[in-house]
Symmetry: C2
Subunit: 473 residues, 2 copies
Amino acid sequence: MTAQDQLTVGTAELEELAARLSPGALTTDPDVIDAHSSDEALFCPREGAIALVRATSAEEVQEVMRFATEHRTPVVPQGARSGISGGANGSPGAILLNVSKMKDVVRVNEAERLVTVQPGIINQDLKDHLAPFGLSYPPDPGSVALSSIGGNIATNAGGLCCVKYGVTRDYVRSLKVVLADGTLTTLGPETAKGVAGLDMRHLFIGSEGTLGIVVEVTLRLIPALPDPFTAIATFPDERSGLQTVADFMAIGGEPSLLEFLDGSSLKMLNAYGDFGLDSDAGSMLIMQVDRNPADSEAEMSRFAEVAGRCGALDVAYSDDPTDSAALIAARRMIQPAYEKFAHSHGGGQLLDDVCVPRTAVPEFYDHLKRLQKSSGLEIALVAHAGDGNTHPSVFFDAGDAEEVAMAEEVFAEIMRVGLELGGTITGEHGVGYLKKDWLPHELDEGSRRIQVAVKNALDPLGILNPGKMLDAL
Amino acid sequence: MTAQDQLTVGTAELEELAARLSPGALTTDPDVIDAHSSDEALFCPREGAIALVRATSAEEVQEVMRFATEHRTPVVPQGARSGISGGANGSPGAILLNVSKMKDVVRVNEAERLVTVQPGIINQDLKDHLAPFGLSYPPDPGSVALSSIGGNIATNAGGLCCVKYGVTRDYVRSLKVVLADGTLTTLGPETAKGVAGLDMRHLFIGSEGTLGIVVEVTLRLIPALPDPFTAIATFPDERSGLQTVADFMAIGGEPSLLEFLDGSSLKMLNAYGDFGLDSDAGSMLIMQVDRNPADSEAEMSRFAEVAGRCGALDVAYSDDPTDSAALIAARRMIQPAYEKFAHSHGGGQLLDDVCVPRTAVPEFYDHLKRLQKSSGLEIALVAHAGDGNTHPSVFFDAGDAEEVAMAEEVFAEIMRVGLELGGTITGEHGVGYLKKDWLPHELDEGSRRIQVAVKNALDPLGILNPGKMLDAL
């Protein structure tokens, strides 16, 4: 659809829609719209939305999509707006369709180890709800306390536990979805296996609101995770830490978590709060194993041995859940710590999400160091290292046009290096607006062509989150 | 595409195609075509193919698809033809495009735990190839010794280990696929995580050759599986065995395999060979755990306790790999045992593949018993019980039209019951020809509509495996 095809929606039409929704669900207040027009991404367009609907039911989502189809109105599906690729940002003439009020746990099925929820529920709230049942929903993006399950599905979110427990996709059994024309459909049976027809549920996972709107989801659960053993290893430099990861995984290491923090990240964390971390270390690894005590202990020794061989300054481990929780809490403070650092250094931070083959991470890091040197910008790195999923941050003075341009160039160069090493431009954050121009660098022409064909087949009017992720070829 | 749109392909055109392929790759010999026109399914159309191409490279697959697009010729992708839904069967005017000669291991990447193979490699051959590396590819359909990885991807095959290790989908990292027009494209990065764009690789998995032809695949591997502990429990009847499964899973049991055989299956197995099984038992469970010895032993006790409470006649277990292998080998003999029984009872066997919530299996079984009584036909059941994936077989006299009709009716009724219990018509075998008419009973109109839209978007001429899985609405 081109811009010319878009019909003009005026106050009268929006009032008509409002009348079909619960009182107050639709607002055209410019301030409220503005406040809901962006997620956490930088440098992404956000202007032009004409209304915000806070849906309270699948029926309301259907009403909005019927209206949108009738009037060819763009719709931006939103949840907690904690994304960092601009996927939930406003766009010209669009209705922001926010589902964060739809946050109920519909049912817990203990015998089948399933939970059915609305999309707006926050990931951590779901985890807390399940704890009394002795059940666990593993996926734990860094934003676990902020992001909603609907958003996690939209980006196929990962997190810290992926190295053992996989990503959001691995836990989705069944989706209820509202299509572009307002049709409500169920995708996937709730059974452990099922192959009847093309698997639309897997197509929708990671589709960033471009194919339809998830209004209910049934997730597979596992028995409550046992308390982990946690090892912490410090290194004189980054490369020795990263080499430890590569070597440990190559000998068959099976951590349930394996996080890397470089020296810059450690310094920023220490400047943010007292977590008892060695601020002089060149890098740090946090490694967890959550098997039985004997196996966990054996794995700790194996890890300590590899780390020692790679030149670790210190390796310690603990089976105390409080220690473990404190360490992971410190790791989760990295983004606020980055923000504090950015705040006192001109305000700018670009967070990347390049995933490379895990053996390529040391080489990837060497490139980062070179980029830091050539650009003069501070670059810090945390990584879900066991998966090769890196999150470099580029810091810059947001008020200095030259630095901004340089930061964007470095950000792009990081993706280019990732691709050269056999990686992807986004491991778990999604494409949104932020990386749209980079998609053709990763995906060949045939792959993009069928993606566009699928998008057009499901959203022929181009009203679902237009301008995000995919452009027409 | 309607039949009228199909252009007529004559000998001259096929000779032109043959000239573009390696010598002997294309044949129009009617006997050879006939011998390649079906998989293992009964009651499915198979007539009308005009040529067989035994492709030896991705380039040859591309040549065939370019030709097919130019001439609007249907193409039936084939591998080992071990499927049981007719997905690989011939169809009118079609070229059978067989990739079973493309069976190389392209590379093993030990450090990343990945293997890249051509689609024709047999699942067991891949497993054998990986053993010396200390690596394992878990998915193990019953047909592990016969079926190819390409076919496993086409149906998202499962198997015995799924209850712990998941299905084919869970191990696919990257696919090289030839599209309807002959374009070669790569779907998915090889990295542990990756969310750049719509996930076409997951769309292709389970698509039964209707969207394109897989010519190379990179699979995720895991460290070699440890030797399991194996428990065997016998019961006076079926319900007590099935109740054991439901109860054991409900208390958080975590088997790596949990197979159920009913009394009829046991009798047929014993008539087929001497596996040392109790032929008088009403049912049997085989349960494996492959953790460390202490945990495995504890899980065995937990299982024995549950089985005892449910009325088991006997529970025994062993940590001897030879015993385990023998038991699983016996379980894998069930299909030949069924065939022997069928052979002496009129020749007919319809094998179903209904997956239900695992707590619903006992109720499902009661329905089977009623059906057996009302139809007078023998029905036997094996099940990947830990997943609720059941394989009832209906036996009948293939020469007796009335019995054939009755068997087809029972087969359908089994699917109907499965759907009523919240299940699916196919857990792992696929739809093919066999269950095509049943798809509308499982999938709502919206779901079917978007599936057809996706199919048309990727295969606008309708040349890829036409008549299988999906019909236009």
